[in-house]
């Protein structure tokens, strides 16, 4: 079980719990604004862009090559950017905070 906190662009703070699936799925299933996951979670659309809280980045880890490439030319890309369809929910990420990039 992991707790994940999302902060949307209108500064709403939503904490959700899950034990499996991806962060994108968790967000979409709970209607977190700004996370669309249009491609269904295969790293093709970049509609699930988040900035991982600096202190939590180690828990989440670096993006894969393809994910990094997808992010590279995104507006508002940062060194803490991830496409959250590529982050699996697990005990290891318990307690992380993610800032949603899109409105």
């Amino acid at each position: 079980m992991a707790k994940v906190t999302f902060i949307t662009t209108d500064n709403e703070k939503i904490t959700l719990e899950a034990s499996s699936g991806s962060i994108m799925e968790l967000a979409v299933q709970n209607g977190v604004k700004g996370i669309d996951g249009d491609c269904g979670g295969v790293c093709s659309c970049a509609t699930c862009h988040v900035h991982v809280n600096e202190n939590d980045f180690e828990k989440v880890g670096e993006p894969s090559e393809i994910e990094a490439d997808m992010l590279e030319l995104e507006d508002e890309v940062s060194e803490y950017s991830r496409l959250c369809c590529q982050i699996k929910v697990s005990d290891a990420i318990d307690g992380i905070t993610l800032k949603v990039v899109e409105e």
Partner: protein, 413 residues
């Protein structure tokens, strides 16, 4: 605006995204979303891939959770077919005998797989298209129940090839029969066709081109697929992937202009007042390429939905996006951006020391029209940026694989 009603026919990518986009744009009225499919609306791209090869429940592929429809006050009417539209009274009739008034009506009816009129096709055993969750359940059942697991895929477009890759993963012996001289002929260049033909061959999928299926003979639990050159193939399962026909019956019944799909203007409005058409069924103008097109893609469905939502909410907007697509087969990820039609030059760029990573760049004169990336998201995102900004690309640098793939290296200054 509170007493206005928006009715959406079709609850797939286009219809569902429209409903949610309407709320995002501030629509306060009622929203009614109808679909004949009884299953909670789901992502379609995984149907031929992860959903076919896994035991995932379809709910895991849901576009939105059931509760989010309730939270956004979207009335989801599943398993309910809209049978008629009265454009004067502004009301739709339903198969269950009920009716629903509307102020704005959006047709997002998509398209249906073409089942070609081949003798014996109606009596074939385990013959399915692949468009709905139910189709996939039927295919899974057929493959699991068969001991010999011989699958014949008719049609080598993206659906056919993705399904072939997935069936292979499920342990089937797979044969693909394509009528044209090369696979993916309708949708991509010979370079890509060759690549995918080799890829499938390496994975032990038999691909035959110039194969015109003329008859299907069903025996007890299997079939014989017969081609015009007298070759024949035994099939315990047959997948039909020969393209789609637009579901334009409702639109045409009210006199909406139809060409290769339901014709819409830049705001996605049809020729009938207060009626819009989006997604696979819409025949629309693309400003970047200055021509009318019909697209079968998630991107088109989602982006048109956003435009329609803004239009219905009275905001100025036009549909002006660069089309993009993707396809996943085996461990290959294909990402395409732009429309390559009309190109007069193709540059294939390989990356230093990478065998299965390359990109195909389509030009018309100096203008970059489209890019296909194979396991190369970088080429895809750079291509997107260049096409959007109409940047001039230095072709000799692009060809040179020792030149690092990044925008600054490729632009003509």
């Amino acid at each position: 605006m509170k007493d206005k009603i928006c009715v959406i026919i079709g609850a797939s990518h286009a219809g569902v995204n429209l409903a949610f986009s309407l709320r995002k744009e501030g629509w306060e009225g009622e929203i009614h979303l109808f679909d004949g499919d009884p299953v909670l609306p789901y992502h379609r791209p995984p149907l031929s891939k992860a959903y076919l090869t896994s035991d995932d429940a379809i709910e895991q592929n849901a576009l939105k959770a059931k509760s989010t429809y309730e939270n956004e006050r979207i009335n989801l009417h599943l398993g309910v077919i809209v049978t008629a539209i009265d454009k004067n009274q502004k009301v739709v009739s339903l198969e269950n005998g009920e009716s629903q008034k509307y102020d704005s009506l959006v047709i997002a009816t998509g398209a249906s797989p073409i089942i070609p009129s081949i003798p014996g096709i109606d009596t074939a055993t385990n013959l399915y298209p692949l468009r709905t969750a139910k189709d996939v359940l039927n295919i899974k059942k057929a493959i699991h129940n068969s001991t010999t697991k011989r699958a014949v895929v008719i049609g080598a477009g993206y659906i056919g090839l993705e399904t072939a890759a997935s069936l292979k993963k499920l342990g089937a012996t797979v044969t693909v029969l394509e009528r044209e001289e090369r696979i993916l002929q309708r949708v991509t260049s010979p370079v890509m066709s060759d690549f995918f033909q080799k890829l499938h061959t390496e994975h032990d999928v038999a691909i035959f081109t110039s194969k015109n299926v003329v008859e299907i003979k069903a025996t007890a639990n299997t079939n014989t697929v017969i081609c015009s050159d007298n070759t024949s193939y035994e099939a315990d399962l047959i997948i039909i992937g020969v393209g789609v026909r637009v579901n334009s019956q409702l639109a045409s019944s009210i006199g909406a202009e139809i060409e290769n799909g339901i014709k819409v203007d830049q705001t996605t409005a049809t020729s009938i007042k207060d009626v819009y058409a989006i997604g696979d069924c819409s025949f629309h103008h693309n400003p970047r390429y200055d021509r009318y097109i019909r697209l079968e893609s998630v991107q088109n469905a989602v982006d048109q939905a956003k435009v329609t939502a803004r239009t219905i909410c009275g905001k100025d907007t036009i549909y002006d996006t660069i089309p993009w697509f993707w396809s996943d087969q085996y461990d290959i990820k294909l990402q395409m951006v732009g429309l390559s039609q009309g190109h007069d030059e193709i540059i294939v760029r390989h990356e230093e020391g990478e065998a299965t990573k390359f990109s195909v760049w389509y030009f018309k004169g100096d203008e970059l029209l489209a890019v296909d990336g194979i396991n190369n998201a970088k080429a895809y995102v750079i291509g997107t940026k260049f096409i959007k900004s109409k940047s001039l690309v230095d072709k000799s640098k692009l060809r040179n694989s020792t030149e690092v793939l990044k925008p600054a290296n490729l632009l003509i200054k």
